[in-house]
Symmetry: C2
Subunit: 326 residues, 2 copies
């Protein structure tokens, strides 16, 4: 199959490697023609996946419209803040579109496939999500993910596209749950990073993950997702890896906050999109609108957008009344 | 209050520190009088909590019966394999007994308070469980746990005994669920350690945690526990910390297996009880008896007791058919 990957960051590149291994013809588009040229010439993506050699057979296409010509499937791996704009340039593409971007649009509260439903109404839509540090996937270290689509046959199509012995793909029809799990876990990862920056231990982080998963699930269910999806790979699985791994960017942002950096200073010094930053704002808005209690999200928001001191944010979280576990 | 702690390992010692900070009079009993003497003299427990200074006010009592005289509450912190034998020596003690031991008795399938129900029928029973690396608790780094008892007033009593600003205690009446979460997570931690020993990454470990939590919950529900307890601090919380922390002994056992050591060789070189070893055998027996599918437990059992090669065990786990996520 001909598969076009939109977005030349770490995740788009790592998925392109997998698709190549599965004998698909990959065309890569990125917003920066000079970087695409460099990738084609050097056969590496040194900024995002240092040391990983890219396949000979890849095509690099700096023109978005041309990159879609003949594509059976399009993988959307661009940052959430430009997702709608990129989708709008896809000329009503009507094939299979797989979002691997994790975010929530602030103005609408929509997930990424929610945006695609509006912009590309004729496309077959799916999302791929789960615990997936790009560098591990690029190195062929085993991972397991979920392909989600409201249409079971589209979920199966995406499963078959990506599945490999070291990249196990499960299926789900709870598209909303799978996408919200991936998006909301980045908010919790920032909180986990703050714990690291304040030199809290693993006990506290485990407690945070437990409460964080419950908070994600509350908000997700209010949005129409199934509760059990948040106990799956795209919820709990992705949450644990992002909160514990040294490789997680969202966790790293939190760690910088915990050490006393401002959010803007920290973001300036990070090389890639940190999705938890815009997602925190969107999640807080969504929780407010739906009347869902989201104390961790509230505190992460206060640290990121209102310069609240991390030690105070954590104290405010901890000082809630003791009670039965719910 | 007068509180007697039975068991001078890392966890008994750390809880004794907390109780002292909460102004309770602590009496410590351990099976080895020479070690108790040493702790009293040196005011440290160097083997289990190096660098931590023990309080002046502690009493050390090598005679079990005498240690219980005047005790309002007894904390049971002895290894699961000797739990019944120690309880049998408590002369029908009828106060409050809190088990902090995580295990399942092989011959009966009982949790630790299940044993206490038989041996000390007049006692008020509870368990305290959750993500709690002893060294972090001893250092006053924030943690959150669950006090569980079938009697809500006993759960509240235990909550009040331990609760501190840095040691938050929630309550539950699902005693079986809280105890099984703590016990079964050690099986999963061994599997997580194997992943580490085989140099798998965080993606794989997150997938394992996700599947492991589902497996724990299946078995727990078959034993009469509430499903939601496994999403709480004593289930998910304890599971994540044990699978990810460098400080976890059960994870360390798995890591040694993954690197090629035999189980017995690895256990000989570890200083403390590794509860996951007997628990794996008990959990497998329980799953078989109840007809619950437990593929991770089965593979951990095969590695520990049948010398199955870790790489083959993992391959057998991964090669199960791809399917919808359940």
């Amino acid at each position: 199959m001909n598969v076009t990957v939109l977005g030349a960051g770490a995740w788009g590149t790592a998925l392109g490697l997998l698709l190549d291994q599965n004998e698909h013809q990959v065309t890569l588009w990125g917003h920066d023609p000079a970087r695409l040229d460099e990738m084609a010439r050097e056969r590496t993506n040194d900024r995002h996946l240092p040391g990983v050699v890219l396949p000979d057979r890849w095509l690099y296409q700096p023109d978005l419209t041309r990159s879609l010509a003949g594509a059976d499937t399009v993988i959307m791996a661009v940052p959430s803040v430009v997702f709608r704009a990129v989708a709008a340039r896809m000329d009503g593409y009507a094939g299979c579109v797989v979002s691997v971007t994790k975010g929530i649009e602030f103005s609408t509260g929509l997930t990424m496939t929610g945006i695609l439903e509006q912009v590309l109404p004729r496309a077959r839509l799916a999302a791929l999500s789960g615990p997936s540090l790009a560098m591990e996937v690029a190195r062929g270290i085993p991972s397991a993910l979920v392909a989600a689509s409201r249409a079971p046959e589209v979920a199966r199509e995406v499963q078959q596209l990506f599945h490999r012995p070291t990249f196990r793909v499960y299926r789900s029809t709870d598209l909303t749950g799978v996408e919200l799990g991936g998006a909301l876990k980045n908010v919790m990862a920032i909180a986990a990073g703050v714990c690291d920056g304040l030199q809290f231990g693993d006990n506290a982080k485990a407690a945070l993950i437990t409460r964080g998963k419950a908070e994600m699930q509350r908000l997700g269910v209010a949005c129409g997702a199934l509760a059990e999806t948040f106990s799956g790979l795209s919820g709990l699985g992705d949450l644990t890896v992002t909160c514990f791994s040294r490789l997680s960017r969202n966790r790293a942002l939190g760690e910088r906050l915990g050490r006393g950096e401002t959010a803007l200073h920290a973001l300036e010094h990070m090389h890639a999109a940190v999705e938890g930053y815009p997602t925190t704002k969107s999640a807080r808005e969504l929780a407010t609108r739906l009347g869902v209690e989201a104390p961790i999200t509230d505190q992460v928001y206060a640290m990121l957008y209102d310069a609240k001191e991390p030690a105070r944010a954590v104290r405010d979280l901890l000082s809630r009344d003791i009670k039965a576990e719910d």
